[in-house]
Symmetry: C2
């Protein structure tokens, strides 16, 4: 049964899906939907996702939206996926669900609010919005602090003190990677106080190599382009 | 094994949990954590949820946060819960997961942003914030429209065209019920264009009677109190 992933590698939840499938040997076709080119607003894509957002999947005739729902589905539908990604044990799974749910109104809200409004907006034709960026920064810093002191526990390398990564580790670290498009100094200012977070990002990168770096190449190209534009602006 | 629900009936996710347990005959002890009195910031509650938010549960020695994670857990841990609340069928479950995930950054974000900043803030000692209320309203209206035209489908009474409610129906309708604390006219302005949503709210109320109304009594008392205060302010 064919699996199509409608994704943009600049979108953090899209990257989480791609890495997850590659890591677990799940065969798929990548259908690029370039947000910067407005391809998510095309009539063809509206038939897949009328809400015009990536990622989305079509597995056979089954269409599914929302990255966490998709990760849960793939982990359950493909028996080759190791249990630690989305444990069948009721208590272990419930704890992972609580991180996945927490993510939306905290890390994701803060990260998108700050990165989009401080840096990325012009790349998709929107103006920068310093006030929205400031609100985003506040939520982002509080979320990084919560991960650093609460969700990461001393016993294990991954979230909830686990010794192996789950879909929550992958989703959250792909979100934090979005900070790569910021100025180096700004990124360091936000991340460097959170030592456990920095260590954990490395653990997730190592556990998902070489796919993690490969899938993030596009993001680093966007970073380079943004910084070239900024330098050109500063010297003109 | 004892089940304790740490809840405030003024909190919409708390109400969803209480209704769910009552409906399904799950025995529990309700531990009221009154947000208006700052009880979520007490050292005792910090031991249950260091993030100082309701709802939280303790089931035996197992602590769990985040209302959707808790609903999933309860539906899985208690065999008396009918399958339609959280179907074991992979595809049916995945679709419900996509609504649950969508909720956080859409309906919940819009509803909390509007209701809190336009009306409820003074009740917990915060100032009103018209700009944040306007942002919330925009997200709220877009979310109600998405439910009206996309998540509700013509074939069934509930979300996704289902003939019986799921935990997503309960969570989303409890969120929309928060609009009850607004002025009647304002609530009508927001809700009345969404005919399918209005019909669906009634379907969920009927399917969860008499617990739905019983658990919402506190919210209606808060509404009354707010309107009395407003009338007193207007006549002073």
């Amino acid at each position: 049964m064919s699996l199509k992933l409608y994704v943009d590698r600049v979108s953090q939840p899209s990257r989480a899906l791609l890495i997850f499938c590659k890591l677990n040997g799940i065969e798929f076709e990548e259908v690029p939907i370039e947000l910067a080119k407005g391809q998510h607003r095309s009539p063809e894509f509206a038939e897949i996702n009328p809400m015009k957002a990536v990622p989305a999947i079509v597995h056979g005739t089954f269409t599914l939206l929302e990255s966490h729902a998709i990760l849960r589905y793939l982990a359950s539908a493909f028996p080759e996926v190791a249990d630690h990604w989305y444990p069948t044990d009721l208590h272990k799974r419930a704890k992972i669900e609580s991180v996945l749910d927490w993510h939306h109104s905290n890390l994701r809200r803060g990260s998108v609010g700050y990165v989009l409004n401080s840096t990325l907006a012009p790349a998709i034709g929107w103006p920068l919005n310093p006030q929205a960026a400031a609100q985003g920064e506040k939520v982002l810093l509080a979320s990084l602090s919560t991960i650093d002191t609460f969700w990461l526990q001393k016993d294990g390398s991954f979230l909830l003190g686990n010794s192996q990564p789950s879909i929550a580790d992958l989703s959250l670290v792909c979100e934090i990677m979005q900070l790569e498009v910021l100025d180096e100094k700004d990124r360091d200012r936000l991340l460097s106080p959170h030592k456990n977070v920095l260590k954990w990002i490395d653990e997730v990168k190592n556990a998902t190599a070489p796919h993690f770096d490969e899938i993030h190449t596009t993001l680093f190209k966007v970073k380079e382009m943004l910084h070239l534009k900024k330098s050109a602006g500063a010297s003109s």
